[in-house]
């Protein structure tokens, strides 16, 4: 059979129009199954006719379909479509489950990270504390070693300062390192100064009596061993300690002379 001649006869256009007999329709159906070019020709004719007839339609009326679906009692006959839960397949569920697991995992990781970071901070603080303690210990050790060396040094002059007047029960000692021009004052025997007062250390010349301030002991209360290193470049003949208002005085207040001691020349 000549397929082209058959197509050109115009019978397929009539087939789409529905103008043929039942017998002719069945023949064409059989031919379409056998010859893809006939089927393709029918599809093209149909597409063109659908476009032409659709062009004469009034504007798209969505409510017609809505109305039809209502008449037919369709389940989803509302405009607002309710998507049935059964539409979701296992991939959807798996996907959601996976994202939930992932989110939980992320939260856990973030939480772990925060905990670890705060642990590190705590450890850092502890370390700083220990370092300070070590530094303090080292300082104490150095101080102690210095003291020991001072006590053992022949060149060091030891001057006991005796309690004076009302303060007879107090005492102090001065270790004078002339070479290094410094004294170590051991003030263990002095009471804690009252509020607003400080001890002031004096270097004295005896004839005539000339006091020279070596400074005030501002950290008396906080110092644990009560040994204070004080610079002293004077040719001192005696040392005295008075109680003075905070900041110290120009000249010693003799009523509050606690201890006094003369250096053995």
């Amino acid at each position: 059979m000549d397929i082209n001649a058959y197509i050109e006869s115009g019978i397929l256009e009539l087939y789409v129009a529905g103008s043929l007999s039942d017998k002719e329709n069945e023949e064409i159906y059989a031919l379409m199954q056998k010859h893809p070019e006939i089927l393709q020709e029918v599809l093209n004719i149909e597409a063109a006719v659908i476009k032409l007839t659709a062009a004469t339609a009034p504007k798209n009326k969505n409510y017609i379909l809505t109305s039809i679906k209502k008449t037919l009692n369709f389940k989803g006959n509302n405009d607002t479509k309710v998507i049935s839960i059964t539409k979701y397949n296992w991939i959807t569920y798996t996907g959601w489950a996976a994202s939930v697991v992932l989110a939980a995992g992320l939260l856990w990781t973030v939480n772990q990270n925060t905990t670890l970071q705060s642990n590190i901070e705590v450890a850092n603080v502890k370390q700083a504390l220990l370092e300070t303690q070590i530094a303090n210990s080292k300082n104490s050790l150095e101080e102690a070693q210095t003291l020991v060396s001072v006590l053992r040094d022949d060149a060091i002059t030891k001057i006991p300062l005796a309690g004076q007047g009302n303060f007879a029960s107090t005492y102090a000692k001065v270790y004078w390192d002339k070479k290094e021009q410094r004294i170590f004052l051991d003030a263990q025997g002095l009471p804690e100064p009252p509020e607003g007062k400080v001890y002031q250390v004096w270097s004295l010349k005896l004839s005539p009596l000339t006091p020279t301030s070596l400074g005030t002991i501002d950290d008396f209360a906080t110092d644990t061993n009560k040994i204070f290193e004080i610079a002293n470049a004077n040719q001192s003949e005696a040392f005295g300690i008075t109680l003075e208002p905070a900041g110290g005085s120009e000249t010693p207040t003799m009523e509050f002379l606690y201890t006094l001691g003369v250096a053995a020349s």
């Binding site: 115009g10 062009a55 008449t71």
Partner: protein, 176 residues
């Protein structure tokens, strides 16, 4: 989706398949129906009747008997023509004499301004009267080849070749 599968599902009363087929053919049917009755409200009413009917008698369709498009086109044309013969319709005094589908395209106030509609309008403007007549009778009115032959007073062979050539022109216009 393959049309055969879609139609098979439709015959098994699958609502989604129905909606797909509606999307494919409803505009075309609306055009055909409106061309016959020339009344918006009546056309919409017939549209509903046609698709409800198609749903209920879906099991009577068989691909051996023709294209699915042709099947629903027949339902639409018959419903519209039945309507024009009813008493109530005659009372509306619609003047349907000598009106062709091209009239709708030429006075297209109520048409979608889609590229297709505009393209077809241009095409139809150039279309020979002999094409308008034969397309109107065969596709919009559902005449058999014998009826068309008698109405246009020409042999069936001539109807077939003329129609073939007219549709060829249409295809060149809208499918390329």
């Amino acid at each position: 989706m393959d049309l055969d599968i879609l139609v098979e599902k439709f015959k098994q009363k699958d609502e989604k398949a129905f909606e797909s087929l509606y999307a494919m053919y409803s505009e075309s049917m609306h055009g055909v129906i409106f061309n016959i009755v020339r009344n918006h409200d009546i056309a919409e009413e017939i549209m509903q009747d046609v698709f409800v009917k198609a749903w209920h008698k879906s099991d009577t369709y068989s691909s051996k008997k023709g294209r699915f498009f042709t099947w629903i086109l027949n339902i639409a044309r018959n419903a519209a023509i039945d309507k024009t013969r009813s008493k109530s319709f005659k009372n509306t005094k619609q003047n349907l004499d000598a009106s062709f589908f091209v009239d709708i395209l030429e006075t297209s106030d109520n048409l979608d301004n889609t590229t297709d509609a505009i393209g077809i309008k241009n095409y139809v403007g150039k279309l020979a009267k002999k094409c308008i007549e034969v397309i109107e009778l065969l596709y919009f009115k559902g005449y058999t080849q014998t009826e068309a032959s008698e109405t246009l007073n020409m042999p069936i062979g001539t109807i077939k070749t003329r129609n073939r050539n007219c549709i060829k022109e249409l295809r060149n216009m809208v499918l390329n």
